[in-house]
Subunit: 192 residues, 2 copies
């Protein structure tokens, strides 16, 4: 292959989950793109790098100092998530109308990440006038530990702290649910 | 998500096999790349589009008028492949030392692709002094049809025409081989 193709494939291979073969496929696809498409691609790469930063309030990606959600929504309910992509997932559910707080990681002593390595201090600084903090970290060991840690800090302040429910996924099959999920679903059963 | 992130994800989603979620993951990865990495990425995109063209001889990708393989290797044996990526695969096998001819497609009447839509004329124009043409199109319906069509054109010229062997893949299991492959492997059995 030519030098330029190899170089571009090498760049693509730095993207998450992209191996050498996929990177080469992407590079070939670029050869067949129109000149205009490639220019737009290049501009889009530059724009993301130059325009995107963290919201001064919630830590989500934004192109202004404070993101649109923080500017427009009532800030008395904060939903705490791990990463910006979790905000995207929550917003798709169209069920939450408050603001978010992005931790940018979890507490994980095994990996040497403590409370000071994620945005917990920034969360505590936002609690004035807040009525409820919803913890929407992942239902895995690190996400649970992070949620428990934050709950223990905030509950004494007299603010309601809740955790998103765990249970059987909609449309899934009880037969194939793992035991932990199933036992959580039983514990959290709701009266009808 | 911000406008810039959406735009970049949209560009990534034009790559083969990249859906909306993967595209978004790639866009996030770009945010975390260093400024220098993003600039190199942009330069690599432009270079591929501006420097890469088809070799005037074989039709493979090149950055010079005639590719390195055509310039340096004996041209009395031509290996005919479908796409440039097949040249990469063949070269990795380190078994062929002649030159290639890239058809850039197969004959497929059902899709309205005839012999004039792929580089067969260009192949015929290269046959002066050629001793053997090896047909390395894929062992599927279109690849077989294309190989048969080319063989029928070239054999009458007194040039040896061969087809790469079909059989059980190295390291695979006879138990799981499909019947067509297995019957081909039997037909093409080799005396020991």
């Amino acid at each position: 292959m030519t030098e330029s193709i190899n170089k571009l494939a090498h760049k693509f291979s730095k993207l998450p989950g992209v191996g050498a073969k996929t990177a080469m496929r992407y590079a070939y696809a670029v050869i067949n793109m129109s000149e205009a498409d490639v220019e737009e691609f290049r501009a889009a790469l530059g724009d993301v790098k130059h325009n995107v930063r963290y919201c001064a309030e919630c830590g989500n990606f934004t192109e202004t100092d404070v993101c649109e959600i923080c500017r427009k929504r009532p800030s008395d309910t904060i939903c705490v998530v791990t990463y910006p992509k979790d905000v995207v997932a929550m917003e798709k559910a169209h069920s939450f109308r408050g603001v978010y707080h992005v931790l940018h990681g979890t507490i994980s002593p095994l990996d040497g990440r403590g409370p000071d390595d994620i945005r917990i201090k920034e969360l505590l600084a936002r609690l004035d006038g807040v009525k409820e903090v919803i913890l929407a970290t992942n239902p895995d060991v690190e996400g649970e530990a992070t949620a428990m840690y934050i709950a223990r800090l905030i509950k004494p302040l007299g603010i309601r702290v809740s955790r998103i429910a765990q249970g059987i996924s909609m449309g899934s099959d009880i037969e194939y649910a793992d035991e932990v999920t199933l036992s959580r679903a039983l514990e959290s059963r709701v009266d009808l």
